[in-house]
């Protein structure tokens, strides 16, 4: 009788207390947890489109440029103005502010070199091409191509030429000219010969390649989740700095189970590097924003895209661009899945900072409202308050 009672109690414990004490995961759950650990991250692949990508001198020059405020119209904006080095390379604001306020939230940079697409909408297809966008955006650095070339010639000619070879002859070129600037800058750009424009574009592309070489060194640091995951994968009991509370374990189980977070937030960076319509509300003060739908035309027409004249290496590196989805419902108001590493400590959330807290993000996915444009991929989750808290407790382990 006594042994039967003990067996029954043991059965009860196994069925109800699976998340307590020593974690109790199925083999499939263990494999999924291991796949999310930084330990599962393969080495950073080379970028054949940027032959300077792994050149230390280029990375060092790129670091200088990243923090260089004179690479802007008003002399006050550098990449680091919004990508703050001590804040996960983001700025904690709902909308980034350069020379003026933009329409989008600054993205953090850890692991950025692994992404096939850049910006929230993927309107750039290489890290070096991405770095060029803000330099010319009227709300960010607001500079122009000949001004940048003159600046490099004046301040950094030696460093530039040791990496990229001789600068073109800049004498006689307009001080301010570029295809995306003011009307006067556009007119000055159009007044230049095709050869002159191409030589300036080459300098401009090389600045992007140097900045990209630097950004390749910005990586994710291991978190408490990684220590936990590695213990689970190795069949060890997670102890000390690797330990999870019962609530965190419940949150992890929800993340890879009922809450379906892992369908998009997958792999060691917790992103599928792709674009989804998750029904994020529009910001009524901002112009209409159709996300990926607009970006596909922009990246296809971009002279600095992978199929353009400034790519190093062969066209075989351009598969993402060649085979991108250009039409249909999928790109409508779709935005890139952000990594969840460090997300708990960098509110606000979403592509225009629409959601202020992690609690409200989880509630957004719990209710899955319809999208203002296109169709949301989300379905209501039916999470209880306790489950929502557990999910948040788990997300915090990715930021400590």
């Amino acid at each position: 009788m006594r042994s039967r009672a003990t067996f029954a109690l043991g059965l009860v414990a196994a069925l109800t207390l699976g998340g307590c004490g020593e974690p109790d995961f199925t083999e499939a759950e263990k494999a999924m947890i291991a796949s999310l650990s930084l330990s599962a991250l393969p080495p950073l692949p080379p970028d054949p489109t940027n032959r300077y990508a792994d050149l230390p001198a280029a990375a060092a020059f790129g670091a200088t440029l990243f923090f260089e405020q004179r690479l802007s119209r008003d002399g006050n904006v550098s990449c680091a103005t919004c990508h703050l080095i001590d804040r996960q390379f983001q700025d904690d604001r709902p909308l980034a502010v350069g020379v003026a306020t933009t329409n989008r939230r600054t993205m953090p940079l850890a692991g950025v070199a692994r992404s096939p697409w850049f910006f929230w909408d993927g309107r750039k297809d290489s890290l070096w091409s991405q770095a060029l966008g803000p330099l010319e955006d009227a709300r960010e650095h607001a500079g122009n191509r000949t001004a940048y070339a003159h600046f490099i010639g004046k301040e950094f000619a030696g460093r530039y030429e040791r990496i990229f070879g001789p600068l073109p002859d800049l004498s006689g070129l307009p001080k301010n000219a570029g295809p995306l600037g003011t009307e006067a800058e556009k007119a000055a750009w159009n007044g230049m010969s095709g050869e002159q424009r191409a030589s300036i574009d080459r300098v401009f592309a090389n600045l992007g390649k140097a900045i990209a070489a630097f950004e390749r060194s910005i990586v994710h640091e291991p978190t408490r989740f990684d220590r936990f995951a590695d213990s689970v994968a190795a069949g060890r009991e997670p102890k000390g700095e690797a330990a999870f509370s019962d609530e965190e374990i419940q949150g992890l189980k929800l993340f890879i189970g009922k809450a379906n977070c892992v369908t998009c937030h997958n792999g060691p960076r917790l992103t599928d590097d792709h674009f989804h319509n998750s029904g994020v509300p529009a910001v009524k003060e901002l112009p209409e924003d159709r996300g990926r739908e607009t970006a596909v035309a922009q990246v296809a027409a971009d002279p600095f895209n992978c199929l353009g004249a400034f790519r190093d290496g062969g066209e075989e590196a351009c598969g993402e661009l060649r085979f991108m989805v250009k039409s249909g419902d999928t790109p409508k108001r779709a935005y890139k899945t952000p990594s969840l590493r460090g997300a708990a400590t960098r509110p606000p959330y979403m592509h225009s900072g629409q959601i202020a807290t992690l609690e409200d993000v989880v509630e957004h996915y719990n209710t899955a409202p319809p999208s203002p444009w296109g169709t949301s991929e989300m379905h209501p989750l039916g999470l209880s308050e306790r489950e929502r808290s557990a999910l948040i407790a788990f997300l915090k382990t990715l930021a400590e």
Partner: protein
Amino acid sequence: MASTWRYVIAALVIAVIAAGGMMAMHGSSAPPADPDLSRSKATKKGVFLASVEPEAGSFRQGELHSWVLTVKKPDGTPVEDASIVVDGGMPDHNHGLPTSPQATAHLGEGRYRVEGVKFNMGGWWVLRFAISSPAGADEAVFNLTL
């Protein structure tokens, strides 16, 4: 003693309900019951026999890769002159494929290279091939679970 047993039975009932709930939750994100995962089959109207395989034998989630589609007539004769349009997606998530794969080369013997395939999420995927040739037009639909 009797009260202890009442406690145990009540706890067991709760546990069984909880376990049932867990199973229901997992069921909600699973692919359709008993999906047809075969990689070789007759096309919808029986015009062709179609088979697919990753060109490298396997693939990794999230990486761009190629497949080879082999098209034959029901008698086994290779179809050498087919034009192929690729489509697909995740029916559970209201979205298509993350890329726009294309048949870029005929490798001979009815084998066609399909480039630009990527599966960025785990779950149930569908790959559809619209095949047309002088022998007729038909569609082959393959299920995959990741």
